[in-house]
């Protein structure tokens, strides 16, 4: 295997891993506060189309990313209003959000199909970003470095900060947290909004970095893989990083096998690989009984203070 092939494989893995890492990190925080948001895929699509539309209109990718975060967080706010304020079933509301996001993004993106924008690529000088070897460090979109920093940040926040402790308390025992005087609903709102903003960045990673264009259902079910990743990581940010890169490797395998004309197995089998791998990994994790113990105790349960 030549070095340049190896480097391009590594870079493809990073590209495939980053969006699911970003989305899963946001979902992890929401779930730590006790809220299961199955609308990840829908929020990512809303972010993807918003980011693309704003970038195509203004020519500024950073502006597109910010707009995507706002739009996806707004859709998460809708989810929060239904599940937290109106105590609606979280599973059903999350599914509704996904169906809504698929439809709304297709509707809003209709005029942008076929357009392209410049790739939101590396901001380092070309001597580094396009260097045959050093590009493995410097050749990525700023969002890639942001995603790694965010993992460290969220990990610190949840383990060391006071606010993180409160968030975990709310997710583990909402009734106790409420009786001590912590604002359960407000904490959950913030966690859900953060999850939405992260899904927004994840979504526009597809439409601005990986394939700088918009197409219906651009995220192709990756939101669901991100959801599985949270379980896989046992609700721990560092493990999430490892898991995302592992999944990135599985997806890259598919791409490179296709490109190399690998014909021992059907291409459809390779396309199904990430999903089969997810099921296999979930089976291994869950069978160890670890899954149930690690999940926040109040996950998915509505809370209504009986004041």
């Amino acid at each position: 295997m030549t070095d340049s092939l190896l480097i391009s494989i590594i870079m493809t893995i990073v590209g495939a891993a980053t969006p699911i890492l970003l989305a899963a990190l946001g979902e992890l925080v929401a779930e730590k506060s006790g809220v299961l948001n199955l609308g990840l895929e829908g929020m990512m699509l809303i972010g993807a189309v918003t980011g693309f539309a704003v970038t195509a209109t203004t020519g500024s990718a950073p502006l597109g990313v910010v707009a995507a975060m706002i739009a996806s967080a707004a859709s998460a706010g809708l989810f929060g209003f239904l599940t937290l304020t109106l105590t609606a079933n979280q599973v059903a509301t999350g599914l509704a959000l996904t169906i809504f996001g698929i439809g709304l993004s297709a509707l809003a993106g209709g005029n942008y199909v076929g357009q392209t924008v410049d790739v939101f690529g590396s901001v380092f000088p070309a001597s580094l970003a396009e260097h045959p070897v050093l590009r493995v460090v410097f050749g990525y979109s700023p969002l890639v470095y942001v995603s790694v920093l965010l993992v460290a940040g969220v990990s610190w926040f949840l383990r060391k900060s006071r606010a993180g402790l409160i968030l975990r308390a709310v997710g583990e025992s909402d009734i106790s947290a409420h009786s001590i005087g912590y604002p359960v609903i407000a904490v959950r709102y913030m966690a859900v909004l953060f999850g939405g903003a992260m899904a927004g960045i994840a979504g526009c990673f597809y439409s601005l970095v990986l394939t700088p264009m918009w197409a219906e259902q651009l995220t192709a079910g990756r939101g669901w893989i991100a959801l599985a990743l949270v379980v896989f990581a046992g609700w721990r940010p560092i493990r999430l990083l490892l898991g995302a890169y592992l999944f990135g490797a599985v997806m890259t395998l598919e791409l490179h096998a296709k490109a190399a004309g690998f014909s021992l197995v059907a291409p459809e089998f390779l396309a199904a690989m990430p999903y089969l791998a997810t099921i296999a990994v979930l089976a291994v994790i869950s069978a160890r009984k670890a899954g149930k113990l690690l999940a926040p105790a109040c996950l998915g349960k509505p809370f209504k203070p009986s004041s």
Partner: protein, 360 residues
């Protein structure tokens, strides 16, 4: 002014049945506003999507044909949802049912006889149930969350479909198009009203809903499902086996989704094509909730969602509304239903703030 929620002692039955209608009307109003704001013909869209199919008697047959798979899948999913078993992979089970039935159709190619069609249906039910058996196995044996496993399997099922269409099951006389042979006369569902497209699957779907209603209200199985969902602890004390309930819920949901699949393949499609997965499995989730997880309610909800499908197509051809608009309307309906659900559990009071500055 503050909105205060006061818990009702008993959930309101009146609201339980009223809120689906409130949700539909709210969707029409909000849809008109939102689509107008988006620069589209909002009022026209609502009129076309929700009213045109009902006014035009020529479209009623389409409503029946669209409602049939939604009702079948919705009834099956509702059994699971009642037991807190979240099978959201009905789309995959629908595809697998369609494929299993198609397998029988291809194996009996050139044969004739009345037995072929029932055999295809049995294969369809078995195929869908078997595919739902995977999440059931994973859930009961390995504790794998059925939401994720059933959904992942949907993506896998679609790849299986693509593989069969491009490879082994491709019509040998089909100019290399990725689709199967056309089913023969003995493999196609007969129409029940001559001169229309209403096939045998339509009355079958209604019959299944009535049967499910009887099972859910009159049998021990139905009681068990309802108890396990409503009060899992009580169910365990009562000696109901949780794992058996999970299996039953998933097999019922998968079987009915598979049945819907083969009825679509042997009905409107008349062959198997890569475009077979049309999202009925996901829309049926909305149908199940809008129908209040009650088989008869699901029949009504299935017809309402069928209206949006047929109306959506009308709006596409007549006022150029994008196809995606239908999905937005359908999702909004579920949003509004979930939002108005609060009226079932709580009484809403409008109160003036007690003290200034005490609003938080």
């Amino acid at each position: 002014m503050l909105i205060e929620l006061e818990k009702r002692k008993e959930p309101s039955t009146a609201m339980l049945y009223l809120t689906p209608f409130i949700a539909v009307i709210a969707t029409m109003l909000a849809g008109a506003v939102i689509f107008t704001l988006m620069g589209l013909d909002g009022l026209g869209a609502v009129r076309k999507i929700f009213l045109a199919p009902l006014v035009d008697s020529y479209k009623w047959q389409d409503l029946g044909v669209k409602a049939a798979p939604l009702i079948l899948i919705g009834v099956g999913l509702a059994i699971g949802f009642r037991a807190n078993v979240w099978n959201i992979g009905a789309e995959g089970q629908y595809v697998m049912g369609g494929l299993a039935g198609t397998g029988v159709a291809l194996a009996t190619w050139g044969m004739t006889g009345w037995w072929i069609l029932p055999l295809m249906c049995i294969a369809g039910i078995a195929g869908g149930a078997a595919y739902a058996g995977i999440p059931a196995f994973l859930k009961t044996r390995l504790n794998v969350n059925e939401i994720l496993s059933s959904l992942m399997l949907t993506y896998v099922a679609i790849q299986v479909l693509y593989y069969l269409m491009r490879g082994p099951w491709k019509d040998p006389d089909g100019f290399n198009f990725p689709q199967t042979r056309l089913f023969s006369d003995d493999q196609i569902l007969p129409t029940v009203v001559s001169g229309t497209v209403v096939h045998l699957g339509v009355p079958l779907a209604f019959a299944v809903a009535v049967a499910a209603w009887l099972v859910m209200t009159r049998s021990v199985f139905g009681f068990q499902i309802r108890v396990v969902g409503a009060a899992p602890a009580a169910a365990r004390y009562g000696g109901f086996n949780t794992n058996r309930t999970i299996w039953a819920a998933l097999l019922a949901g998968g079987g009915l989704a598979g049945f819907a699949g083969i009825l679509e393949a042997a009905g409107p499609f008349g062959q198997m094509v890569p475009q077979f997965p049309t999202g009925y499995g996901f829309t049926a989730i909305i149908v199940a909730f809008l129908g209040r997880l009650h088989p008869i309610g699901i029949v009504l909800a299935g017809i309402i969602l069928a209206v949006t499908y047929v109306g959506g197509e009308l709006a596409q051809s007549s006022i150029g509304l994008p196809a995606a608009a239908t999905g937005v309307f359908q999702a909004m309906m579920l949003f509004f239903l979930l939002a108005t659900d609060v009226l079932v559990k709580y009484r809403v009071r409008f109160a003036a703030p007690a003290r200034a500055g005490d609003a938080t």
